[in-house]
Structure formats: structure tokens, C-alpha cells
Symmetry: C2
Subunit: 229 residues, 2 copies
């Protein structure tokens, strides 16, 4: 399954803390997207995560959990994405919390199901930027250097450009893609229609579509058109 | 050359800031050690590093530079070891300084010659611990968790247990070796004779012998006996 990620071009991200009807969930799961990623920056609990994975598992679609809080670690996901924030001075978001989790769970950790993601968080107004004290005021060269550190020093399989809440800098995203060696480039933030989805898809490997699902389902479903086979 | 590191059982570490005669240097290089690592925690400059590499290059021995300061980056080494301190809250020692270096050197970086090392710094009284504000007061479980994060999340090729200046906890070192998956385990600190060298070699892959070279050459040379072929 870890290898399968490399083929993903489009992912829908569902937030356990937000309400989604069975009908909408079915449409999202059957949309043709490559996978469902479950994750959120706040309000995520064991119970609302269990509830969502149970409902998603009724559909035939790869489903991965992005672990932003230990409380939300629920068995049954195909993979567990482990975010590490690269552009912060506070190392708890890069290694500290992860070490605490490893110490706590120790022998129960399914290492083969973990996929570390190197986040570069770039929207200062987002919850994730505030929570992780991300250094969002960096220029293109420095963002590229963070990506290269994640790609070449830490050998992370995924670099994730996160503009959560607004559409980001496509020049920067494209330059990062050109500058990385082995990492797959995820882009997330502000994709609200097929047009912005196409723009983002041109400069990264995998686009992540989230909020718009809850605001304009049809526009969200349309973004799946960026997938080329 | 990066693959060759895996065969290293014994390494001598030479400090550019310390004086070594041609005669002593020749004995160290011809000792049978697997490699010479050039590095130091303070007083390392471009000039004293150039001087040392020039003199080592007269001998037929792999020679790598451990880059603890950008000022000491000198061409001509076989490999460049890039230390990342895992057990610190200050992420500049894990990624920040590296990002600045990548940004500064950009296209001139010989990526294929870089080898990241995940340091776990455990002697509170050492220069490196003070400089990096290392969290040295950690128990065995937490040290193991740091090593596993470096090994499994960051996929670092080397985990380096650093007791710089005193002989460390062999139980902890052995437990880390048993708990890691793919990383090669380096141990350094307080190896002063063949007896302590043997103790350390039993619980790690590669021992690093440093200070004793300058204090008791014969005792240092004797440590090479731990190599088994």
C-alpha cells in the first residue's frame, strides 16, 4: 500500500470534526479520487475518527489516517500518515511529539504502515500554522531548502506544501517539485474548483482537496477531473 | 563510498584544532582502522581543516569530514557526514542550520557525498551537549524512541550515540541497536583502551575513537584490535 501512494494524483481529505451525510460521503468515495485521507487540525477525537472510518470502510477506496493527535489513533486504516513540520523552530512538531508517541506505544507500532510526511506550512492565518508556530514568512529559496532537507537528508517519501485555507504560490510549489529528488510532492490549500485543481496539479504530484467538500460538493467532485490515466 | 561505510567497524576521529605530528598521523592512518573522520566541536576553521585533509591524503585511507560548522567545508573529502541532533528542543540543530547551508550553497551541494547522522547526545558535560542544548537527562526508553524516530521516520543511515568525553551506558547502546531497523549504530565517547573499545564494539556497529589519540597513542592504536574480518 505504501508503494500505491506514488500513483495518487488526487486525494479527498475528510475532517472527523465536520458533519457529512451518508449520501455526500458516498459521492465522495465513488468520485474516482485515488484515496480518502482522514485528518484535521482541531476537534479530532477517537470517537469521531472511529465513526468516520467505519462509514468510509463501507466503500471500496483506500483510506489513510493523518495522525495530528495521538487521541485519534484508531485501528483499521490502510496507512497512517505522520506529519512532521519542517519549517518551525519548535522541534516538538518535527520529532518531539513523535518520540513521545513511540515511547508510549513502543512495540505496538505498525512501522510498515507509517508514512512520514514533511510539511512546509505556508499560510500564517491557518490553524496548523498557529499551532506549530510555523515559519511561514520564508521566500522561495528557503522553502526549497526546507524541501531539499526533507527530501535528501531525511529521505521523507512525501513533501507536503500546506496552504490550508487559501490557494498558494504555484511558482514556489513548482520550484520545489523541480528541486526535489525522490519525494512525492503533495499540495493542499484553497482548491475550490476544477480550475484551481488543474493549476495545482500542474506543479505537484498529488493534490489534496478538503474544505470545498463541505461547501460546494459539486465543485469538489469536479476536481477529480485532473486525474490522468 | 556511501555503501562502504556499512563495513566500518572502527573509525579514528581527528580534530583539526589539535596538533598532531606527521609521525603520529602516519601511525593512525596505517593502524588498520577503517576510516578517518575529521571533526570537532570548537575551534574548527577552513585553514586547519585544509591542513589536516592535505596531510591525511598522503595516506591511503578513506577520509570523511563531519560538518559541524559551515566554515570548515573543504573540498576533497570522500564523504561529508552531516550531524543532526535528535534530542534537542531547538530545531536549528536538527534542520535549521542545514536549511541555511542548503540555501547558501544550493546547486553546489554534492548530494551523493552527504551522509546524514542522527546524533543522540548523552553527556551533559560535553561541549556538543551544551552547544546544542541536548536533552541529555533521558531514560533508556526515551533514548530508544529518539533512535527509532531517526531510524524509521527519517530513515537516517546512521544513528550516533555520543558520550563525548566519557564512557557511556552500554545497556542503553545495546538496546538501541536491538530496536533499530536499518540504521548503522555508531558509538563515540570515552574509549581509552582496547578493553573499553571491546565493550563498546559488542553493542554497536562502529566505534569512534578520538581524544585518546592525543593522550596515549599506543592505547589508541590498540583499539583497532576490535576489528574482525
Amino acid at each position: 500500500m505504501r508503494e500505491q501512494i506514488k500513483t495518487w494524483q488526487h486525494v479527498f481529505k475528510l475532517d472527523p470534526d465536520r458533519t457529512i451525510s451518508d449520501d455526500v460521503l458516498a459521492k465522495v468515495c465513488k468520485s474516482g479520487t485515488d484515496a480518502i485521507m482522514v485528518g484535521g487540525s482541531s476537534g479530532v477525537t477517537y470517537n469521531n475518527t472511529v465513526d468516520l472510518i467505519k462509514r468510509i470502510s463501507l466503500h471500496d477506496i483506500p483510506c489513510v489516517l493523518e495522525v495530528s493527535d495521538l487521541e485519534m489513533v484508531v485501528p483499521g486504516f490502510d496507512l497512517y500518515m505522520i506529519p512532521l513540520v519542517l519549517n518551525t523552530n519548535d522541534s516538538q512538531w518535527m520529532i518531539g511529539q513523535h518520540v513521545s508517541a513511540i515511547e508510549q506505544y513502543s512495540h505496538f507500532i505498525p512501522w510498515d504502515k507509517l508514512v512520514p510526511e514533511g510539511y512546509i506550512v505556508l499560510n500564517a492565518d491557518s490553524t496548523v500554522a498557529r499551532r506549530t508556530e510555523a515559519l511561514t514568512e520564508i521566500d522561495l529559496d528557503r522553502a526549497v531548502a526546507y524541501a531539499q532537507a526533507g527530501d535528501r537528508l531525511f529521505h521523507l517519501p512525501i513533501i507536503y506544501i500546506e496552504y490550508s485555507g487559501r490557494f498558494g504560490d504555484m511558482e514556489l510549489t513548482g520550484e520545489i517539485r523541480r528541486s526535489t529528488h525522490q519525494a512525492q510532492l503533495f499540495y493542499g490549500g484553497g482548491i475550490r474548483d476544477v480550475h484551481s485543481a488543474r493549476q495545482a496539479k500542474q506543479v505537484c504530484d498529488t493534490i489534496v482537496v478538503g474544505n470545498i467538500i463541505y461547501e460546494n460538493l459539486q465543485a469538489a467532485l469536479d476536481t477529480v477531473q485532473v486525474i490522468s490515466r
